[in-house]
Subunit: 233 residues, 2 copies
């Protein structure tokens, strides 16, 4: 197959946080796939990259259902794969955009795994992970010396969370919305609370930063909130 499939990380939100490489590939793309769910018609990754997309480039919305049922996913994917492979057969440069970094918690990973079973050319372009942008935004060092950093979705079972809190020097806690009170309690129990910072909607107009989590433990956080914390030594 002559074409190339590019998986591009567009970073966390600011169009200036795309890499030069990502911008160059987007500018030269023949087709840009915008993933959409059945309900949601606009793609956030697309809006972030929009200013770099040239007029000659074809925009191709494909439905990727946000479901955990493998059969629904597979049948939607079969159809999408046919379309993608056909474009690559024609020698096209096909771009798939994804939020943050493509190798961290992205829809792209599913597509990558499926496309790897074929003989098409795949190139993945890294993006700034949201947690790195948050740390820089707050001037909050994540790791020094031999520190161990764990990236932890707070949606994990309590036992897994406890192990991560015990073992790490530094934590990035994502999706703290659901079990916020439990997370605050663990930050206290494992000596992270004094350094913990919570940020919601980083870099956006409605950004909110909470430095003293002890005083905000009873408030429900915003939906897209991340906590950075380091263990007191």
């Amino acid at each position: 197959m002559k074409g190339i499939f590019y998986g591009i990380g567009v970073g966390p939100g600011d169009p200036e946080l795309l890499t030069v490489k990502a911008v160059n590939i987007i500018k030269g793309a023949d087709v840009i796939i915008t993933p959409r769910t059945e309900k949601q018609t606009n793609s956030i990754a697309f809006s972030i990259a929009e200013e770099y997309i040239q007029e000659k480039t074809e925009i191709l919305p494909l439905v990727f259902p946000m479901v955990k049922c493998p059969e629904t996913l597979n049948s939607a994917w079969e159809n999408n794969q046919k379309i993608i492979l056909d474009l690559l057969e024609q020698g096209k440069k096909v771009v798939f955009l994804t939020l943050g970094d493509p190798m961290l918690y992205s829809t792209y990973i599913y597509i990558l795994k499926e496309l790897k079973k074929t003989d098409c050319n795949i190139e993945t372009i890294p993006g700034i992970p949201a947690f790195a942008a948050i740390a820089s935004r707050l001037n909050y060092p994540l790791t020094e010396g031999d520190d161990i950093l764990s990236i932890v979705p707070a949606t994990n079972p309590k036992e897994a969370l406890e192990k991560a809190f015990a073992e790490s020097d530094n934590l990035v806690l994502m999706k703290v919305y659901k079990n916020y009170e439990q997370i605050i309690q663990m930050l206290k129990d494992y000596n992270y609370i004094d350094s913990a910072v919570m940020i919601s909607n980083c870099g956006l107009e409605n950004e909110e930063i909470v430095y003293d989590l002890r005083e905000h433990e009873k408030e429900k956080p915003k939906y897209l909130s991340t906590i950075l914390a380091r263990k007191a030594k």
Copy 2:
């Protein structure tokens, strides 16, 4: 103080992996500080960013000794800080370049902490972390679903390493050079070995990728080697 101090992550090596924001700030910089050690005169971060630096920009090499002795570090720093604050007083845009991401294991963190004690304006620009570039280069997904990812310098004591291996779903092991045999044994003991990949000098001419670590367990790896691994489920 009217000037701004920018800490910029230039990513892992490819000049195309700087962000658009980093490039724009570098192009508009009045002064670019190139950190150098007493022995080493050229800065890797500087060579990565070099093509974006304009002629009008002053290049200012400052010695940051790579020592763990706080007194030597502090006395070198006092001198550097005077120079930096003086430039900021004059309203200059002063840029400090750092490899990878500024908030992960960088010299910049020391400078940031010291400058935060003053009233100067500091802006940190995130960069692509080396491990993200490696994962994309290898098309190697780091995390899916609720996976916990730990970034682990292999120079940690055995006990800390064992906890990280036990607790995580996915590992990025940095600096595996020193205790390579121990690391391979732990990858086996904790069920990571089958998926483990080692890469040296990622993206450079002398890049080396090792997929089957079982067959290479007796060979000494290259100095700048990183292992990505996920636990068999």
